[in-house]
Subunit: 331 residues, 2 copies
């Protein structure tokens, strides 16, 4: 097929995915900063976000949305949640009718609690909009480590048609029709990864962390189910897989924020020292508010939100979690 | 309540659990070796299996099954699967009618493929028999790290009555009625932990390992479901929780065997260098045979069995796993 691909956003993950699609189809990467775009096109590196990695020679970048989006037939969105709507509004005039949109962003819009595909549907109604997600730490994918991903569109024929755009010898792309489930899983796992990092930073071991991951996945599935997602999605690569990879990896920004919080660091200092966005910090409040709205219990996410945004101490968070009474596991 | 507890088996986990129950109720630990029993009773240590840890002064041990089992009203079984039936047959004459049995052993009987509670029912029919399981790396529990466990009996009133025997300020014990699910989860997670260790030993990263854990949990759930277990058990502490803790920890023998295999070590050398048993090595064959018998696909367990017992190379195992075609995630 003659796909032409635009990837909007030249951060770590956007650049990684653009490198993959460039091996399959002509790909243009949009970078807000002209110096980053020029470096990608001429030096084939992106030293701000993927230091030390050689990008494909065929991959070009531009700071012009018009140039990036002209003539493409699939648009990949890789901008942080807090800039997602604004960038999409800038991009909208250049997106041709019927072009499918693929979101890579794992956050909620803070003001509206909307998922990124819902924001995209607001700005560009009538376009098929899905997500690519899974246990995909960017650097490992960029280095060619074997992994699996999930491409979710409500209309399976769209997912099947786009599968070859993202597939690589080391990346198996599975299709799924549960966009809500795949998207909520990606949002909530970042919040739970902060909690897992916190217990690690406080000096607890693998039993405790595994318990946070297990109960955290249950929270993720409860919220996802309330919003219309499916159990199999949460148990699969988009839910469990992504959660486990994120909670294990020192490459995950959300996990790292949690570890530093657990060691007693201040959130502003931690976030200020990172070049990239830890989506779970911001999402934790929106997740907790959504959970309240839908009557879903999310005690772990609540404590992440409390520590990040409501002045709770680590001791208060730990006590809130450990003092819950153990009865039946199903209760 | 006036419980008196016998723990049969003074390995790492049996000794750890006996230390917990000794804080709640009079507890006697049976050790096959007289020197180990004497060391526990007089020096309050078990340097072979829990080096450097002080055991409770109230905990006594004996090499006599008659002495260990006389007058107790709960028996905890913590012997490896390959000795389980023989030890239970020796113990049977001393176990009073109606005393519940709690298995801590996460393996299958090699010849019969039977679960430990099935073996116990063969040898001691008419006794309530359940399991205590979950993400419980022995050393962390012994050190007082917070964790959760699952106590499963078909009759919930038995589990509820025994909950206070095992509970501790740092160990939350949840009840469950799904004995089959809890037991199969414990068996299969040891096999999957070997696979996760193998990919780690081969140099792959957290995405790959998370994918093995995710697809491995799906195998675990498929076999468990075929045998009559429940989905919620596999998604809970006994399934996901134990799997994640085991796959993360350098303390897990099964995980360590996998890492050494992945680095190219020979199974006999690896197993020979360990003082304790890695149940997953032996169980992998029984699990694969059970899966065939019930028509369940378990490609990861098959490759563990092939590498451990059928002369397959790491390259063959990797290719068998990575060459499967990616379609819908549900297929």
């Amino acid at each position: 097929m003659g796909h032409r691909v635009a990837v909007v956003g030249a951060g770590t993950w956007g650049t990684t995915i653009a490198s993959l699609t460039a091996a399959n189809h002509p790909t243009v990467l949009w970078a807000r900063r002209k110096d980053v775009a020029d470096e990608i096109t001429t030096a084939h590196t992106n030293d701000t976000y993927l230091p030390g990695l050689a990008l494909p020679a065929a991959l070009t970048a531009t700071p012009s949305l018009a140039d990036a989006l002209g003539g493409v037939d699939v648009v990949v969105l890789a901008v942080p949640s807090h800039g997602f709507r604004a960038v999409l509004e800038e991009a909208a005039p250049f997106v041709a009718d019927g072009v499918p949109l693929v979101s890579l962003t794992k956050g909620l819009e803070a003001e509206t609690h909307r998922r990124m595909t819902e924001v995209a549907a607001d700005v560009l109604p009538g376009h098929a909009c899905g997500v690519l997600t899974g246990p995909n730490l960017a650097r490992e994918i960029a280095e060619g480590q074997p992994a699996g991903a999930v491409l979710a569109f409500a209309d399976e024929t769209v997912a099947v048609s786009l599968q070859p755009v993202f597939a690589a010898p080391h990346l198996r792309v599975y299709t799924n029709t549960d966009v809500v489930g795949a998207e909520i899983a990606g949002v909530v796992k970042n919040v739970i990864a902060i909690a897992a990092g916190m217990v690690e930073g406080m000096g607890f071991g693998d039993n405790t962390k595994a318990t946070v991951i297990t109960r955290g996945l249950a929270e993720l599935a409860r919220l996802g189910h309330a919003l219309g997602g499916e159990a199999a999605t949460f148990a699969g690569l988009a839910g469990l897989g992504d959660l486990v990879a994120t909670c294990a990896s020192s490459q995950s920004r959300n996990h790292r924020v949690g570890v530093e919080l657990g060691r007693g660091g201040r959130l502003d200092d931690i976030v200020g020292s990172m070049p990239t966005v830890a989506e779970g910090v911001r999402s934790s409040s929106a997740v907790v508010e959504l959970a309240r709205q839908y009557g879903v219990q999310m005690p772990i996410a609540e404590q992440v939100d409390a520590v990040c945004h409501r002045g709770a101490t680590l001791d208060e968070a730990r006590q809130a979690l450990l003092q819950r009474r153990a009865g039946s596991e199903r209760a």
